[in-house]
């Protein structure tokens, strides 16, 4: 039986515009914050998982050159929006394999002003037609054969759920966004902390129906880092370190298994369902035991389908689940009390650790005004299109 693994320290920077800080400044701030929170130093860390998609190759080593070159192995990982969760999985697996007793994961991104993440702008056309790529395309397909834009892809995913089960219209998706923007007003680290009315959300700029601008995740700068430790090592540390440690009851990463249509429109459902099922089995708990969930609401249309994928509701019951008020912070299963990616922001590689930071804050009773009282168990979920899904179930330390 492999060792249990615990979060010893964790930190996220404020998300938003950091004009005067580069990726190394932000990564170092998160890493040093996590080390300080854990009350350990780089000399205690046996392995580093590092994620940064846009900017540096070899980000992990560059980070070490700022905070401590101790010669430990560095794994620079990339898994789209699940990069942070993947980096964390590396550190967890190294501990479970018995190679090290403490590890760190860091994810950072600078995305302020990046605009729409999509296929490329069209090159000048002319000359004569040349077949290119695995479809033999003579011209770019984005806009000619469907859409490659993220808001458009995830819009279709939400609309498909609506087609199958009914009840999901533009207003319902906008109300999901209204919830997350309302939640963000209590999160001082969120990139946007403004409450928005349903009318404001629905009347904002349309990006890809039914997603208007505030229903899309916010590009921003930010970093997050976590220090993880084996249970055996944890028991040798101080009472205070043990009290604040958060148990990782499940840590799962999946990729998208083949399904009809999955190469036509990305299937973000099946791999999330499999990750959730595996995570609940690993943790020995069910969705009914959860006190809060941070899920990957990269678009309002995505949040809806994940209620179902994570088994927060009956199959096909995501619309009813939302309409019951359950996922509001005063509901019976609060979802995205951080404000979610739509308001907290989505610095891609940081997201899969930042959502775990949010859960840990609540389990430690340190979430301040947005504390979910008495929280003992939480779930963090992240999706990288392509696809990769990370699910972590976290539990409060026994008193």
């Amino acid at each position: 039986m492999a060792e249990n693994v615990w979060i010893l320290g964790i930190h996220m920077t404020e998300f938003g515009k950091h004009k005067d800080k580069d990726t190394l400044d932000l990564g170092a701030e998160a890493a040093l914050g996590a080390l300080g929170d854990a009350d350990v130093t780089m000399k205690d860390i046996g392995v580093l998982g590092a994620g940064n998609l846009i900017g540096n190759s070899g980000f992990g080593q560059l980070l070490q050159k700022q905070i401590g070159q101790t010669g430990i192995p560095v794994y620079n990982v990339a898994n789209a929006c699940a990069t942070g969760a993947t980096a964390l999985r590396v550190a967890i697996m190294a501990i479970k394999a018995g190679e090290v007793d403490m590890g760190m994961a860091v994810g950072v991104e600078k995305l302020s002003g990046a605009g729409l993440l999509t296929g490329n702008a069209r090159a000048q056309e002319g000359g004569h037609w040349v077949r290119d790529g695995r479809y033999g395309a003579v011209a770019p397909l984005d806009g000619r054969v469907g859409t490659e834009t993220m808001p458009g892809v995830f819009a279709q995913i939400g609309m498909e759920y609506g087609h199958r089960y009914g009840g999901a219209d533009f207003e319902l998706f906008a109300r999901i966004s209204e919830k997350n923007h309302a939640h963000s007003t209590l999160n001082p680290k969120a990139a946007y902390q403004k409450r928005m009315s349903l009318e404001q959300i629905m009347n904002d700029v349309m990006i890809a129906y039914p997603n208007t601008r505030p229903m899309c995740s916010a590009n921003c700068d930010g970093a997050a880092a976590a220090v993880v430790v084996s249970e055996t090592k944890l028991r040798t540390l101080s009472q205070e370190q043990q009290r604040r440690a958060v148990k990782i009851s499940a840590s799962v990463l999946t990729s998208d298994p083949w399904q009809e249509a999955c190469q036509v429109l990305p299937d973000i459902n099946t791999l999330t369902r499999q990750a959730a099922a595996t995570a609940y089995e690993q943790a020995g708990i069910g969705p009914e035991d959860l006190d809060l969930v941070e899920l990957h609401d990269c678009f309002a249309t995505a949040e809806l389908v994940h209620y179902d994928n994570l088994q927060l509701c009956e199959p096909g019951g995501a619309v009813d689940f939302f309409k019951s008020g359950a996922p509001w912070r005063d509901g019976h299963l609060p979802v995205n009390v951080s404000g979610g990616l739509q308001s907290k922001g989505h610095p891609v590689s940081a997201t899969g650790i930042a959502n775990i930071w949010e859960i840990a804050q609540h389990l430690r009773g340190e979430a301040g005004p947005r504390q979910i009282e008495g929280a003992k168990v939480g779930l963090a979920h992240v999706i990288g299109l392509g696809s990769a899904c990370g699910v972590h179930v976290l539990e409060k330390a026994a008193a």
Binding site: G127, D142, M159, F170
Partner: protein
């Protein structure tokens, strides 16, 4: 005038249609050049014609896209008798009053443009069945 299809899997004959690579073992269908089957990993395929009509299983109306992409346009996935096809929905106003989930649609061709040799590239889309 010479014509060239926008993609390899579009056949421009009297009755334009799409062709899928179907796994000879498990029947999974693909539109791209294949190395092996993603479902069963076997390596032999046969080409099959895809049904020309279908139902719109999902869509979005893209209002904001990369530079050079004409907006708004309707992007969607059409269920053609069990084979899902990514496509634009064309010859219909790009608004949710005229485009609805489950609507019946049929394949049609769409001009892409001509190159400097006068060769016309032709794409495809799906239009409502009246």
């Amino acid at each position: 005038m010479d014509r060239i299809p926008l993609v390899d899997y579009l056949v421009l004959d009297d009755e334009p249609h799409l062709v899928a690579h179907e796994c000879a073992t498990c029947g999974a269908r693909y539109f791209d050049r294949r190395s092996a089957c993603a479902d069963c990993s076997q390596q032999s395929f046969r080409d099959v014609a895809v049904e020309r009509t279908g139902t719109l299983r999902t869509f979005t109306i893209v209002s904001f896209a990369a530079e050079g992409v004409h907006v708004p346009f309707v992007a969607g996935v059409v269920d053609c008798d069990g084979t899902s096809v990514r496509a634009n929905v064309v010859n219909v106003p790009a608004d949710p009053e005229h485009v609805t989930l489950g609507m019946r649609v049929r394949l049609t061709t769409v001009p892409v443009g001509s190159d400097s040799f006068g060769v016309e590239a032709v794409g495809y889309g799906f239009e409502p069945v009246d």
